[in-house]
Amino acid sequence: MVKQRLVVIGNGMAGARAVEEVLARGGADRFDIVMFGDEVYGNYNRIMLSNLLNGTQAVDDIMINPLNWYAENNIRLHAGEMVDAIDRGAKVVQSRNGIRAHYDKLLIATGSRAFIPPMAGAYLGEGRLKPGVFGYRTIDDCTAIVDYAKTSKVAVTIGGGLLGLEAARAMTVLGCESHVVHLAGHLLEMQLDTTGGGILRKAMEAMGIQVHVKKLTSEVRGADKVEGLTFKDQSSLDCDMVIVAAGIRPNSEIGVRAGLTVERAIVVDNHMRSVDDPDVYVVGECAQHRGRVYGLVAPLWDQGKVFADHITEKNKSSVYLGSKLATKLKVMGIELASMGATEASEDRDEVVQYIEPKKGMYKKIIVRDARLVGSILMGDISKAAYLMQAFDRDSPLPEERLSLLFDLGTPNSKITFDEMPADAQICNCNGVTKAAIGACVTAGKRSTSAVMDATRAGKGCGSCKALVKEAVEWFCGGDVQEDPSVHYYVPSIPLNKTELIKAVRERGLKSVSSVFAALADGIEDAASKPALASLLITLWNSDYIDERDARFINDRVHGNIQKDGTFSVVPEMPGGVCTPAELKRIADAAVKFNVPLVKVTGGQRIDLVGVKKEDLPGIWTEIGMPAGYAWGKSYRTCKACIGTDFCRFGLGDSMGLALKIERRFRGIDSPGKLKLATAGCPRNCSEALIKDVGVVAIGDGKWELYVGGAGGAHVRKGDLLCVVDSEEAALLYSGRFMQYYRENAKYKERTYTFLERVGIERIRAVVVDDSDGIAAELDAAMKRSTDATYDPWKEAHAPKTANQFASAIEHDGA
């Protein structure tokens, strides 16, 4: 193949990077590359210029591509040659010194120059800056500034943007009294809001830099060198040196002369090609894409890649779609990150912020439709990586806002996936790592449920489900597929809970198999059965047709299955109270059936663990107490402290109330476990504040009702629902809350999740204030449920199904 010639005008960060990208795609086989650069150096890192100023780095240190790099890659570099003409007809460029080069493809990467705003007295003569006035853009600028500072006392930097602040800081290091003069109302107005700008200003002033905002410089005083500045408001400032860092202007004049479309810069299409000429590409600060001109490095990298993809034909469909600007930097020793908007701009925008001016700490996020549209972080930017990723990918944010700003250091704290090592375990129950979830997403599973099915992540205790969801979203980069079945009550029937209840009522479906027949084409999804059974029991109570195959094994044999296939036996023991006679019977039964473990449970009951299935009827009979329902998604038990009977602090009869609660609600099914407690005083010895429903005596016969507490896989203090003045009222409102939960929660959704989803205000309105006028119906429904319960251990003498308690059926095969 005959090589084409690629000519690159501009040897700055954009031009050189673009050429690197071409080489990385094997472009050396395709093109002879010729580069022109104004400066006599190779390509250097302009971001590091302030280090040249303050003396922490030398010229060699900031070189990215030293001159020998060009030779090694067979690139012909014309350093110090400014191209000022392009003949697009003849496909030739020409430098000011007359060097001509033919091109087949041309890349314009002329970048930009320091903008010197119009000020009287800035120039001495034709285009020559007055001695003491400096631009701040190149190595030569820096060398001149350092040199001049040796004999200067007061240096003023015009411009309080990123470059200006760095320059001002460097001037203090160079021994000058340093001032910053800024046109806008606060510093870094592109990156910060007023609050952030104010904090930064304080920090600068603490370093001895004087800040003057809302100042427009009208004149540079001094006859043959700088003596001071005069501002539009007639104030003035004496100085002997001025560094102008008031922005940049694209070097796009060459485009104008070549007849290309130039607005604010040379206009390009999505392939970074001039809209006028398919053989001319433009990248960097001299390019205008979709109306925007970028002055930061990150967009240059992206543009360079697209250019290289396209020109080498590695990927002709590669397109640049614009960049979302996010910066992370250290200004004046203050770490700072900024992305997107600095202020809310629409009514629906949600602003969350934290300000601690003394420490120079400021954090702000702007959220719109659960997406990050802007953020400012100062002083502590530990969350920057996570937020920048969320901003860049437009990925949905977790509900928990606080953890977006802080690493809270609690078990619940959100982990930033950027920082999480690949082998970090996300699901501890099933040992699923971040890498495993990533591999699964890469393999094409793009919804949370698909990843959960494939990896089993989140399918153990379930406490990591939210984290799994975030991990999937992170790996999908905003391209996560919403699985519609997450809104269904069970995945196999496309109805949410409300719709399903309506269908079940209308059609009078009273058994799980009839639901499958009517609503799921007769396909009986095994995993959906217990959820449907729970719903039908709640709806139909005593009219429910109890097909035992729809229940989890625990609900078929009324005990909790253990790892070896044996079961646990927990008799009812409300408030942890039993009689000595009952205690003896429990002990005798444990001896008689050789029970391997006797354990007091977290719910203040006695657990006989390791009982064989076929021994269950016998041991229940021997114990002679009702079932404790320690196995199901149901009301479990009510713990109690000792209350008023013996405790010298007791304010209310917690044991008595626990007994009443248990007698009323025992055996009702519910979407998740219901663990309750009563406490005789606010010391809360029975941990009532972390229960699904907790009732706390506060004296004068009054009780506080807490709901939505948790002390398991998740820890949460319950929310105060109401204060009542009798035990009967405590029973009533507890029951009404539980019924509302039973009718509205998703299957396996515990009260603490339900409560956070619905909100305590809404629940209080319905349950306490009867805002929806359904209180009486909730109470009646709960009454129907409690009336329909029975002691399942009576099945010891009247088995519900064939071989209900048989571990195995022996058969001779005859």
Binding site: A454, A527, A802, A806, H811, G813
Partner: protein
Amino acid sequence: MLQKRLTNSLPPSNMMEPSMSATLSIGPIEQIPPGEGRNFVIAEQEIAVFRTHADEIFATQPYCPHRNGPLADGLVGDRRVVCPLHDRTFDLRNGQEIGGNCSSLKTFKVSLTEAKNIMIFL
């Protein structure tokens, strides 16, 4: 119906003495409630037998290859069984685990007589 108390610590079937191929009756379908499974001991071998609501019969090894969960105690539906311990789900027709996290179950051929007696092929 002869019932015998058994622990779950029976030796796995592959440690049994090899037996001749045989067709054995394990009695009427009513021994298993619709939609459930029960363990049977047949010729000194423990086997889980499942009955669907449509009266299809399937037979597999009794314990889950993952952590020895008792499969007859699992949830059955759509010709699958879900192990009660850790939700491993198996296709009852061929024993394969859905999702491929687990080795497959050994399955046994079964049939129903006209009188609805379960026949099993060992």
